[in-house]
């Protein structure tokens, strides 16, 4: 293993210390337990937007804390969900009395830990809602698996819901927007190489020099197929068409029902893309793929979308939700309506994403 680290046990703390030193004008890092908040307290009347997840996906989520995006982020160990005490303490730190919206990627551990954290926060009188992001179309089945994973759409949700929260959306309205963006967004990833978590020191999965994994998750979860390496045009065409051709997806997601005062299962269905849709197109690096190659992906993706009658109205290109040093990319397409575009375009000032402040 070759990594720029001291000891694997200390990397989370040392990297957080680095973030604090680099971005002390925007954020404040808490170390016991780990969470990152904005430098300034949440304004009165504003819903606090919180997310979190395993480390190793930087800049998500910590890099998105700041005006126009998150109020707090909770980093877990590498590829391991954060623990409930982190989200509970973060909620107490950023709640202004208007409630906390937790954005939770759909992984078994994350869902359970955020649920326990929400229970703890609600016991303290904080209004909380957990919204689950599950946009990875590589997972076809929600009945015999833990369901689709939360990937690229998470980044777009944090920007869009962050903008709406600044604009005064209450917890209910913000939760509804969050759910809509999740329903409208779909992603697919692929990997050329594996990645090494510092604690293990060996690759998370094996892949030969002439192979690629299509449909990979952001922790190296297997995808749809292992194939011989193809050209960027062939790979991009296949990924883009897979997203566009994905049929309506049915699943059951948990959310808090404030009226019934309990967690309830809600059936959620999202519709396929159709000709004439406007989209925000997000081409993401898994960490090891250079931005230049992302433009190769973007080129072919744009051609395919044009041919399919889908109009790209905004884009995002770069490493935003990564998987350590893995080479590979993901494509996220988000159907964009006026509300989504309004808050995509809203100002943001965070360590990793800035828009016309």
């Amino acid at each position: 293993m070759k990594k720029l680290i001291n000891h694997p046990d200390n990397i989370i703390r040392e990297q957080l210390e680095g973030m604090q030193l680099a971005h002390g004008d925007l954020i404040k890092v808490n170390y016991e337990p780990y969470y990152i908040t904005r430098k300034e307290a949440t304004p009165e009347g504003k819903v606090a937007l919180v997310s979190g997840g395993g480390s190793g996906h930087e800049p998500m989520h910590g890099g998105f804390v700041g005006k126009g995006m998150l109020d707090a982020a909770c980093p877990g160990e590498v590829f391991t969900s954060p623990t409930p005490d982190q989200m509970f303490e973060a909620a107490k730190a950023v709640d202004s009395g208007s409630g906390v919206l937790n954005i939770v990627k759909n992984y078994t551990g994350d869902v359970m830990n955020f649920e326990m954290a929400a229970d703890m926060a609600m016991a303290e009188g904080i209004k909380v809602q957990n919204i689950i992001v599950d946009d990875d179309i590589a997972v076809k089945d929600s009945l015999y698996t833990a369901g689709r994973r939360g990937v690229g759409t998470t980044v777009l949700i944090e920007k869009i819901c962050g903008g709406a929260a600044e604009d005064g959306y209450d917890l209910k309205k913000l939760s509804d927007l969050c759910k809509k963006v999740n329903r409208y967004g779909r992603s697919m990833g692929m990997a050329l190489t594996s990645c090494i978590t510092p604690a293990n020191g060996s690759p998370s999965f094996e892949i030969s020099d002439d192979e690629m994994e299509i449909g990979i998750g952001i922790h190296g979860e297997p995808g749809i197929e292992r194939d011989k390496l193809k050209s960027v045009d062939e790979i991009t065409e296949m990924m883009t068409n897979s997203i566009l051709d994905d049929p309506a997806y049915h699943r059951v997601l948990k959310e808090w029902d404030a009226g019934k005062n309990q967690w309830v299962d809600v059936e959620v269905v999202d519709d396929p893309f159709k000709k004439g849709d406007q989209v925000i197109a997000f081409v993401n690096s898994m960490g090891g793929t250079p931005v230049s190659e992302l433009y190769g992906v973007y080129r072919k993706m744009a051609h395919v979308l044009e041919k399919r009658g889908i109009k790209v109205v905004r884009n995002l290109i770069g490493p935003f939700i990564t998987s350590l040093e893995m080479q590979g990319c993901s494509i996220t397409l988000l159907k964009a309506d006026d509300e989504i575009l309004k808050y995509w375009d809203a100002p943001a000032l965070t360590p990793a994403l800035r828009k016309k402040m």
């Binding site: 391991t80 969900s81 623990t83 830990n113 833990a146 293990n200």
Partner: protein, 209 residues
């Protein structure tokens, strides 16, 4: 009678087992999960072991609840909430107790199982902790009901737990990260079913003394 001393020995044995099997559990998790189970369990029980001296003044219920809080705040992943809830429910059931009869030990185990199932919504056959823990709890309570003594019942529980863990090998995972593998999850022993078998074996070893 199971005393507080046995319970503290159980936790120390479990911490040692997680340390000894850190790489083994992580290797199992590399095959069908995300390669962190051994690291996470080791981190959690190492912390529990550090706290053992401070547990001496607590009753058994309070000790188990303190273990739960430590696991919840240190393990992370899915195992943190699952094992945290297991110890939490067991601790709630044993509130105020300074020692346990064999029957109460059966209630402790059953409450732990119920906690895991409540949190994870898994049932037998889905390649999870439940596949090892449920047979262990059933074997213990059945054995006791059939007139076996505590030690015989514990031996049956350990055997059923280890057998349950092995029987996850041909299963297709339906819960957790392994479920994404579908058919490819066959042929690998479930890391959670394995770690719970270490916990049950550690309990038996502690009570033998």
């Amino acid at each position: 009678m199971v005393t507080k001393k046995h319970i503290l020995q159980w936790l120390e044995n479990t911490a040692n087992a997680m340390e000894d099997n850190r790489q083994y559990l992580t290797k199992l998790d590399t095959a069908i999960g995300d390669a962190d189970h051994g690291n996470n369990m080791h981190r959690g029980f190492k912390k529990v072991k550090e706290q053992l001296p401070a547990f001496k003044g607590k009753d058994i219920g309070a000790i188990l609840k303190a273990v739960a809080m430590t696991l919840i705040s240190t393990v992370g992943g899915a195992s943190g909430p699952l094992y945290g809830t297991m110890f939490m429910h067991a601790g709630n059931k044993m509130a105020g107790k300074e020692e346990l009869t064999p029957k109460e030990m059966g209630e402790l185990l059953a409450a732990g199982l119920e906690g895991v199932k409540m949190r994870g919504k898994a049932s037998v056959g889905e390649k999870t902790i439940v596949d090892a823990l449920e047979p262990a709890v059933e074997a213990y309570n059945q054995s006791l009901g059939n007139g076996s003594d505590f030690q015989q019942a514990m031996n049956r529980a350990v055997a059923a737990c280890e057998k349950g863990a092995e029987e996850t090998i041909p299963m297709i995972a339906k819960k957790g990260r392994a479920s994404y593998l579908g058919e490819r999850s066959k042929g690998h022993q479930d890391p959670g079913a394995t770690s719970v078998s270490f916990i049950i074996k550690s309990l038996n070893d502690a009570c033998l003394n």
